[in-house]
């Protein structure tokens, strides 16, 4: 075993994460769309020559475990030269769902003739439209082809020259090409920053030292994870929870997990999970991996670098063709945003049996994706609006849950009401905490949100949400949180809508979305 200096370990941890963070700042500064600049729906990371992630700027947990698979796909598909950039979004080749586009750049070090491959810089950003059935590319689909343009790993840039043919093809397939082009340029700039900064570090410390502490940090994260798992009692912990439906068939879809803790290792086995379904809530393996990594990373409870080392002691079994390891051409738009949340719920549900004092009750378990598109006659333009809505978090042993906030796999901001009404033909009728929706208990779950939006002109509304039938669970005797509800109010008459729905609305219609509360913890006394 190589001996690592405890001081250098800490110093390099700061160095590498500041490179990833600087990439993120470049992306945010040069990004074009509000999705990147305001909602910050992106992630940046660095990889060694074998494709192991060694640093990540923490932005969106769902990107966490899935980026490495993108880089592996890139490495397998190509030999790299300095100045290349590989682009991809194909969920079956390193992606998650089509709006998330990943760019991978090789890091070469050394002088012109003696350049050697060192590793990779990569970033992923959620693009607000990549074509497909409905504006915003989060449709109620039944196959991948309906969700937008599919980009397998291809070289968008070769030795510093953009392949304009690919770029043109790509932009011809999306609704807002200027915005896409701007965001893609920003993504390239972010990778360039990562390449440049890693080059500087190699100059300053030498390749050998830099690589030594990459491995040092991978081992460090592994050690921390092993320690956490080692603290858990050996045993098998099983938990099953359900998604309401897939948006096409009314039947619930089950996710089952058995976590086996054996010493300082864990086996996470999703056998027993429902087969992949027709509607677009299928999760590719990358998402299952992300959710698992998130749960263990969060349980460690310490400031551990998010890197490949965290996953070494954890083995995932996700049977092919199930909801948690979907195969082509299954529709996947909602897997990233909805199913990922339920995977977290079942993992935490299982682990609560192993360490009840460290796991909160279920949070809202959905992202309540709302997409509205149409023609705005006042501003004389077509528009696509996309937003996710927070809810309640589960109560903790020792504290109530939090009201009206994003939990687990996402953390994107809302759009201010005043910004919304300046930009879109909407009027927000109310934006309130949904009191009483958190599950009661010794500690109460957090409350959800109620948001009512009036459409001033006809529009196409798509809602992709879950936990409309099955409630977020409570723990240790706490009550479940209330399920969410969607409705349209037309001429004063309220009509309930399903959890996953796409509908034409008329001027004056009001869309009402109430998001779930978190589960309670412990029996309510008195």
């Amino acid at each position: 075993m190589i001996a690592f200096d405890p001081v250098r370990l800490e110093v390099f941890k700061h160095l590498y994460s500041s490179v990833a963070e600087e990439m993120g700042m470049v992306l945010r500064r040069t990004g074009y769309s509000p999705n990147i600049k305001e909602r910050r729906d992106y992630s940046c990371a660095l990889f060694d020559i074998k494709g192991r992630m060694f640093a990540q700027a923490a932005h969106i947990p769902v990107h966490l475990g899935s980026m490495p698979l993108s880089v592996m796909e890139g490495i397998q598909a190509y030999d790299f030269s300095p100045g290349d950039v590989v682009i991809l979004n194909d969920p079956y080749h390193g992606g998650t769902h089509l709006p998330d586009i990943t760019l991978i750049s090789p890091i070469f070090i050394g002088q012109d003739s003696t350049q050697e491959l060192f590793g990779f810089a990569a970033n992923r950003a959620h693009h607000s439209d990549v074509g497909g059935m409905t504006p915003g590319s989060m449709p109620l689909s039944n196959e991948l082809y309906q969700e937008g343009i599919i980009i397998p790993p291809i070289k968008l840039v070769e030795v510093g020259v953009v392949n304009q043919g690919i770029m043109d093809l790509l932009l011809a397939n999306v609704r807002t090409p200027d915005e896409r082009a701007g965001d893609l340029r920003a993504q390239m700039a972010a990778n360039n920053k990562g390449v440049e900064r890693m080059g500087e570090l190699v100059n300053r410390y030498g390749r050998q030292e830099v690589e030594k502490y990459i491995y040092g940090l991978l081992e460090y994260a592994e050690r921390m994870t092993r320690r956490l798992i080692g603290d858990l009692p050996n045993g098998k912990y099983r938990f099953v929870d359900r998604m309401d439906d897939d948006g096409l068939n009314p039947e619930p879809v089950e996710i089952a997990v058995t976590i086996t803790i054996q010493g300082d290792e864990a086996i996470v086995d999703f056998s027993g999970t429902s087969p992949q379904c027709r509607g677009g809530i299928n999760a590719v393996y990358a998402i299952t991996l992300s959710a698992t990594q998130y749960v263990f990373r969060a349980l460690i409870g310490l400031d551990v670098p998010s890197n490949a080392g965290c996953m070494v002691p954890i083995k995932i079994i996700a049977p092919e063709g199930t909801l948690v390891n979907a195969q082509p051409p299954a529709a996947v738009a909602g897997g990233n945003v909805e199913t990922s949340q339920r995977i977290v719920d079942v993992l935490l549900g299982a682990l609560a049996q192993a360490c009840p004092d460290r796991v909160p009750a279920a949070s809202q378990g959905t992202m309540n994706n709302l997409t509205i598109g149409g023609w705005d006659p006042e501003r004389k333009r077509s528009y696509a609006y996309y937003e996710t809505i927070g809810g309640g978090t589960g109560a903790c042993p020792g504290a109530d849950g939090i009201d009206a906030i994003h939990s687990h796999m996402t953390n994107t901001m809302n759009t201010p009401i005043e910004a919304l009404e300046y930009t879109y033909p909407f009027r927000v009728r109310s934006y309130e905490i949904r009191r009483g929706s958190g599950g009661e208990g010794c500690f109460n779950g957090g409350n959800g949100i109620c948001r009512k939006i009036e459409l001033l002109h006809e529009a196409q509304v798509t809602i992709l949400s879950d936990r409309r039938r099955f409630c977020p669970y409570g723990l240790a005797g706490g009550n479940p949180g209330q399920s969410g509800s969607n409705a349209v109010i037309r001429n004063g008459v309220e009509q309930t809508l399903p959890g996953k729905v796409s509908l034409e609305v008329q001027a004056g219609d009001v869309i009402s979305i109430c998001t779930p509360g978190g589960g309670g913890y412990g029996k309510k006394t008195g």
């Binding site: 405890p6 001081v7 500064r29 009201d403 009206a404 910004a419 934006y431």
Partner: protein, 667 residues
Amino acid sequence: MRIGIDIGGTFTDFVIFNEESGTFITDKILSTPHNPDHALLDGLEKINQPTQPYIIHGSTVATNAILERKGARTALISTQGFGDVIAIGRQVRRDLYDLFTTQPRPLVDDEGRLEIQERVDHRGQVLTPLNKAELPILIDKLRIMDVESVAVCLLFSFMYPVHEQIITQALRQAGFTVSASYEVLPEFREYERTSTTVINAYVSPIVDRYLGGLEERLEVAGFQIMQSNGGSIRATEARAGAVRSILSGPAGGVVGAFNVAQTAGFEQIISFDMGGTSTDVSLCDGAIRVTNEAEIDGFPIRVPVIDIHTVGSGGGSIAYADAGGALRVGPKSAGADPGPVCYGRGGREPTVTDANLLLGRLAPDHFLGGRMELDIQAAEKTLESLARNAGLTPWLDLTPAQTAALGVIKVVNAHMERALRVISVERGYDPRDFSLVSFGGAGGLHAVDLAHALGIPHVLIPPCASTLSAFGMLTADVIKDYVQTVMMPGDAPFGKLEQLLDQLADRGSHDVQREGVSEDRIKLHRELDMRYAGQGYELTLPLTPDFVHVFHALHQRTYGHSAPGSPVEIVNIRLRAVGGVSKPTLPRSPLGVEDPSKAFIGRRAFVQEDGKIAHEPFYRGEHLQPGQVIAGPAMIVYKDTTVYLPEGSRANVDEYSNLVIEVRSET
């Protein structure tokens, strides 16, 4: 006589400038956190004042009221259906991976959030008239709740303030202190506006009582309060707009650092204020930079604030070995009480200061002017156990404790380097174009190493390093900022914008004149916040006839792309009114001989970066004279700070007695 008074957590600093003689005196006394005015009044009594002084004061009264949740009992009045905006915020959590994460409790609780029927749209047109019949009921509720202060923030009130005005008037008549958003911040984005207004309502009564009490007891020619934007305003004004002084603590330091640097001929600086528990860094690119995106305790404040990045590491940060085998420093701090182990006041865990002491970088006999004894054995013992816990192998000839100490310095420097990169690289600046101005008690020991790591060519250390903040207050101009959301298309006629800005300019000029500044000393800066139509972020630029062209160019420069054909929007108009005050000039002496031997204390052993033990000269900073030159490795000991000059660096004492250090370059 002008006196700058800065109340900090540990010390209350005084800088007294005698205008007739042109001389400065500084003084420090222990702060009295429970009654901050006690230290201020005691200190003033000590100073022999022949005439009534002119005082500029900065305090953390407003900041602490928020951090300790000791503000006034506050209620909030919102548009019906939107009372929870303040609690929902931007729906994001602070820590991604903390399953037990908490959110700061809103300053107005559930019960205090009241709604009233009314609604205005984005054009300022009334959709639902204000239901005035609800006002008496509201007032009754407020009385029952025993509310002291009320915030009023309605949707789109910056486009049509009438409803807020009616409510405000009724509440004021009923005897409540009211902060209305159309007065505090007529700017769009309801959560940020509400938050700013609520903070103002929450802290103003506290600040009002504090300053009112002082005003009663002080016999002064003038009493000015430091603002977060780097300017000062009259205490009477500050009492009603307390939100503008919330982040004024570190602002004085930046103003002082920039003033000292400019005088010494440096226009591009990064200020570096490393104290006991935290470190503040700020970048001045020929001018002090302000941001509109400040926060306190997680709550946004949308008034202009000096752009300062703070990290929770300082001399008191505690080092430990973590479960994975890394040596970590902070964020836990020993603070001022108990303080580092070597203070002998009950601190048990090793801190950065203990590490510096063990490495021989602090002269124990001169620490705080020799007023405090340092226990080096205790420091050694605790660092020894740190070395054991971390499994450190002794380096070269060093003891395990020294090895650990050097490790602690390297780790804390990694924190600082990261902070300096955030304020420079992440804002689009190259640190190599800047000079580092270091002040604060702990900065001098780390500044030159940090500059070296970042390629910064010069470090400047002013002679009054530990009271620079109070000095900065003496040099602060009177500054007033105004904003108004207008949301107009980019093809709005220049004349119309000029006319709108003239209204703000009249107000600004009038307000600054009321501060006692004559009209000819007032500068008015007219600015626009612009963006491409539909974007969610704005760029600020000066109002000029070709402002649209300037916007495209600025967008290109800032973000690397622009779209000259695309429609643009003017979101806000901004006005900054600056009333120039006569600034004290720093005493200047001609350069003398280079030989610094008169300040020589002796040769002492200390540990260098490379782990070698050097026997090198120590100098008394106060005895250095302009023109003298010291080559590293050396230590320069002042009574309140110590400067470490590593090998290859060279300190020149300039004519203002600043240390101007040339940093060894890489090649």
